[in-house]
Symmetry: C2
Subunit: 235 residues, 2 copies
């Protein structure tokens, strides 16, 4: 079957974590908002076509279910398509990793929107500068050091074993986003995360992803969760 | 078996979402940090006793697994102890609800800590005042209206059906926390959420919870996620 993926068009955002799993898993899907061909396509489907409209995109429509919340979608895909270990301990571990990645993603967003998601960055610049300082100095090393430590204990992939899971794809996307948003800080931290850098490179080279990553479907970072404002970056 | 629950002592915090599920499910557990009898008990276990130290408490130790991330712990308990529907659609729906509740909880926390969790509230008061305004005016009605709408469509409990799930317990705790932190705002919003108020009252009266809620084990709100600063509340 072909899944319907609904997410804002034009930014990678949280939808990209789902796309990477679909692409790497070779799972057919339609990019519905893009196909709808108009800005209102997503809003109409989200608010008018759904029995239980999700709180927010992304959501996946599958077998009559509307599945929302990024980590929840990935948990579903992981179980259904073998993108995570099949045993309970493995499934729980990968879900735990994903939720910690989601926390890091939310904090990366809040750096440029510390006051309100509904305001422009320009309306919260002084606050963003303060939040950026703490994110760069405390949170980035804490999150990255946590994932690096896991790789040190488990090997090439975050769940151990010989094959990637969806959490590895998400860790890749987190690193890509941080590289885009905080290039100076990531350069400084580079020597502290050699294993994460190898994971990032290994995901980029996955046969199932190479074509996607080089295609037009892979959207560039810009005005979404990960944003590059030079004044929010630092050594 | 008896589970080991590790969480900071002295605040309900995120640990309380797990406690409510354990208590309502009649599942034996030990409150390890409290039993350890010293402030360092949790830190020692967390950082020295665990093969894969979680990113943050709460965590549950069960069958040799160390399970962290509140929604992940609840997903595990839900599946293992029947605190969520057994079919995939039901499990996914309850997990989705829980993740949306977790988003609301994180935002409620960031109202008083918009700049950095590592700073005191006193060091980020002007920013907190701005964030509180947007949380009260936009985010509270949005989150509460979302859950109210679900009850309107599904009935007494968030997953429909005749029995509560762990997401109902968490919705109860979210409402209790918001009542504590934003009493004026919650008074204004009361007419808009009659079904949520009935859910809150129904959880409070559950036979399996009544004893717990009246006991000393149920910690009062204070300096945790939900904090009452009158200057951050408003009509």
């Amino acid at each position: 079957m072909t899944y319907d993926l609904w997410y804002w068009d034009g930014i990678p955002g949280r939808g990209e974590f789902v796309r990477l799993a679909l692409e790497a898993g070779g799972i057919p899907y339609r990019e519905c908002a893009r196909e709808a061909g108009q800005a209102s396509g997503l809003a109409t489907d989200w608010q008018k076509a759904r029995d239980d409209p999700p709180f927010a995109p992304p959501y996946l429509v599958a077998d009559g279910m509307t599945i929302a919340q990024t980590a929840n979608i990935l948990h579903f895909l992981g179980e259904r398509h073998g993108l995570a270990p099949a045993d309970m301990a493995g499934r729980i571990w990968v879900n735990q990793l994903q939720l910690t990645i989601a926390d890091a993603v939310a904090e990366a967003h809040d750096v440029h929107h510390p006051i309100a998601a509904g305001l422009y960055y320009e309306d919260q610049k002084p606050e963003a500068a303060r939040r950026a300082l703490s994110f760069r100095d405390e949170r980035m090393p804490r999150f990255l050091g946590y994932f690096e430590g896991i790789l040190e204990r488990r090997g090439k992939w975050l769940a151990g074993g010989k094959r990637w899971t969806y959490a590895d794809l998400s860790a890749f996307q987190l690193l890509e986003g941080l590289d885009f948003a905080f290039p100076r800080r990531m350069r400084t931290l580079r020597p502290t995360i050699p294993r994460l850098r190898r994971l990032q490179a290994a995901v980029r080279k996955l046969d199932a992803l190479k074509g996607y990553l080089a295609s037009e479907r892979r959207l560039a970072f810009g005005d979404g969760i990960f944003r590059h404002y030079p004044e929010l970056d630092g050594p």
